[in-house]
Every structure is written in C-alpha cells, then in structure tokens.
Amino acid sequence: MKNIAFGQYYPARSPLHRLDPRVKIILTILYIVCSFLCKNVWSFALLAISSIMLIILGRVPFKIILGGLRPVLIVLIFTSIINVFWTKGEILLLEWRFIHIYLEGIFSAIFIIVRISSLIIGTGMLLTYTTTPIALTDALEDVLSPLKKVKVPVHDFAMMMTIALRFIPTLVEETDKIMTAQKARGADFSNGNIIDRVKALIPIIIPLFVSAFSRAGDLATAMECRCYQGGEGRTRLHVRHMRFKDFIPLVLIVVFGTGLVLLNIFAPGFTMS
C-alpha cells in the first residue's frame, strides 16, 4: 500500500523530465493553442508528428500513453461517427438510403481524433508524465505569482496542494488499516445491495474523518512551531533560475505555431469545415 502511485508521473531520464517545470506549464498552454490553429490536412499532419516526437523525447512507453487515452476512447469514437455521418461535402463516397458519406466527413473525423489525442498527449508528455506533482505545484505558484498583486492567495493554494500530496499516501494507508480492522469485526464491503454497501462504509468514513481532523490539528501546531506565517517573507530552498537553454523550447513552440499557420495558408489540402 505504501507504493501507490498517485498522479501519472513516469520516472525516466529525458530532456522533457529535465526541463524547468515553469517552462513546461507555458509550453503546455501554447501547445493547446497550437492544436486549435490547425485547419487543413498538412497542419494536422504536423500536429500528429509533433505529438509522436514528444512521446519519443519524453521516453514514456507507448503502452502507457495508450492507457492514458483509454478513458477518452468513447468520446473519440462518438465524435468521429457523428463527423463521418453528418458532415456534408462535395466528394460523395457512399450513398445508401439516407446515409451519405463524404470524403470531407472522413477527414473531419480524423482531424478531431488527431486534435483530441494531441491535446492529451501534449499535456501528458509536457506535464503530468514528466513532472512530479510537487514540482508542478511549485511551478504553478511561480507562474501564477503575478496574481498575488491582485490579492489572489496563490501561496496558500500551493501550500494546500503540497500538504494534500504529502498526506494522500498516509491517508490511503490509514483507510487500508481501518478497513482491515472493521473486516476483523465482520464488516462486509463487497456483498449486499447498494444501501447495505453504503452503510458498510460508515465504519470507515467516520474514523477516517476523525483521524484526518486530528492530524490536521497536529500539523497546524507543528507548522506554527516552525514559524510558519503564510507566504509573506518566505524564502525558498530551491530557487530556479531561468537559463538560456530554458528559452529554446519556447522559441521552438512559437516556430511550430507559425509553421502551422503558414501551412494553413499556403499548403492546399482538405480543410476542416
């Protein structure tokens, strides 16, 4: 139970793992924007290639990526079907009773699939697979720090995230212990109807809450004893300085976006309707 993996972080040594997490957050946002810039067959092809390159760069096995796509599979299939059957165009491929399938429909289905998968692969490869949750939290605090000026409690949110991440394994372990203790008293979590099962959860949820609250109280006291007073006047052990090479990916993504726009304009091909 101690070894539960939370988040999707995949430990590996790769250029993407080494990249400054703040840069990765900005890259992700820009990559999402880029995926919406695509208009025709050539720009979508470039987007698909870029996704594959990201996977290779991040050294995350394809199997894991496919696993990550599984939850959206139904959405993908559903939207492609709608696109195939309902898009009207000029080149009719098949006509049978009320069903008309146009080449344009096939292409829009492919475009949708490429766009959604690229979105998922992009955020996965740039953020969740290659950045530990804690690095992500720290980076978010940095990226959002301009909002502190308008009184958004960025530091407090980041602190809450950190504490949540710290205590998830502890609470999971605790849930396991409580379940075992109640099972030893004859609790049954797997049989009976819905009402029985919900009832069976009470002996777990109550002790879990009681313990979580007492932990929270203890932690607050301990933090106070370690002079915690909120974000004001705090320094950091790890100060990340942006180096020259951290800007290269930012330049690359701008080039990439420009490339997509140029392909949209100058390369003729099927355009998304």
């Binding site: 070894n3 605790e174 212990k177 409580i178 075992t180 203790a181 109640q182 099972k183 030893a184 008293r185 004859g186 609790a187 049954d188 009470i202 002996p203 777990i204 109550i206 002790p207 009681v210 313990s211």
Partner: protein, 289 residues
Amino acid sequence: MSRIELIDIEYYHGKDTPYEIHALKNINIAIPEGQITGIIGHTGSGKSTLVQLFNGILKSHSGKVMIDSEDIWQKPKQIKRFRYKVGLVMQYPEYQLFEDTVYKDIAYGPKNMGLSEEEIDNRVREAAAFAGLDAELLERSPFDLSGGQKRRAAIAGIIAMRPDVLVLDEPAAGLDPRGRDSIFNNIREYQKTLNTTVIIVSHSMEDMARLCDSLIVMHDGEIAMTGSCDEVFSKADELVKMGLDIPQITKVMQLLSEKGIDVPKGIYTVEQAVEFLKSLRKSKKEALQ
C-alpha cells in the same frame, strides 16, 4: 492439540509489481491451545502480516491455514466465520471506533454476527468487564475517552465476538507503565477465566517475558525460533544478532558471565535474578567456611 496451524505458507507484498517483497517464507507453525503465545520480531520481520493470515484478512500465495483442522479458504464465501473464530485486535486499534456510544461500538461485531439483542447485551457487558472498562463509560461517546480507555473499548469490541482465539498486535504500544501493566493483567485474567488461546505480537521482550507461555521469534519473514520463554531467552546472543532488544536483566547476566561468574542461561526477570544471586552467594559463603 492446536487451534491454528500454518502449513508451508508463502506470502508476498505487492505480488507481480516492481515492489514485490517476499514477506513470509516457508512458515510452518502450530499455535498451542489454551496458552498465551508471543510473537516477537523487529519491524518488518513479518509478524503483523502473519497474524492477518490467521483470520483470513490476508490470503497466502501458497500453503494452508488450518483452524480446528479445517482449511479456512476451503469455502472462500464463508471466510467471515473464521473472522469471528479468530478475533484480531490491530495495532493502535483506537481508530476503529466509530459509533456514537461505546456500547454501540462494542456491539458492532456481535451485530454483524446476527445475534439477538439480548445476547448482544450480555456480550457487550462481559467484554467491557474483561477489557477493564467501567460500565458507566458504555453510554459515553468513544471520542471523549482517554487514550487508554479507547484502547480498552477497541479490545472489548473484539472480545465481544467471543472468539476462540484472541490475537492482539502490540496491545500496549504507546501506553505508560501503569496502562501497560493493567492491560496485560486484563489479558491474563481473560485468558485464565475462559481458558482460551491468546496470541500477542510485540517487540517488547520484557513484557513478553512476563506474560507468555511460549514464544515464536520471527526474523526476515521466517520463523527463527520457537519454544518456551526459558528456551528462547537462553539464546540471548542470537536474539541480539537479529536486532532484538533483550531484557535488561538478561544483559546484566551476560555481563556477569563475561566477568567469570557461572550464570545459567535463560534468566530474564528480576525475581529469577534475585533467586539465582541469593543461591550463588549462599554457595560462595559455604565454600569460604
């Protein structure tokens, strides 16, 4: 005769994951009936895993757990029957309390067994008495009790199921000397009165020496030693090698034997030491005269 028997047990934590740990290796033991058996070993030696096999909370990857000569996993659907037969009090059991009164909480187990109201009432009161819990506390909220009282309420919750075998994992952890002594006295009383089988897991050698009739020593997922307290503590050197703490008295006796005094092995209580030293002085005096 023994109530619990383990045959060729192998158990892995996180089987078929990169974190796989071989937690129990080739375990073959029989727990003697009507006695207090102690299981000792340091953290990670597998002792807590072992006791969770007794009542089918965990299922071993190979081997058999027999209770009253019956394989507990013969009919997996009936595993609950064995959870009532072998009552398990977990480490720091306070966190299992959840009802709004102590009474209801102790009644949780018996209720799951489907007993009648009257029977439940009998059992709750009997269990509270055995666990040393004042009857007037029964109507209080378990969350208002002191640490020691919560522990007792949790133990009563298991005793109320009237198990044939009572297993306690570190029942005195975190308690002060008075609390420790009194919990152990309650356990001994309980065992004597009902003549049941009791198994206690602990790493406190001094407590185990006082309480247990026989000991099982675990090391690295294996059974390292079994026998009476005298037999086990006579191998003090081996215990130390396994990273276990031996009673202070045993240490003093070891030091005396290093100084050239002929000390018999297996002295681990103050009373034994005083007896031995008195007889030693007597024989020395006689030799002088």
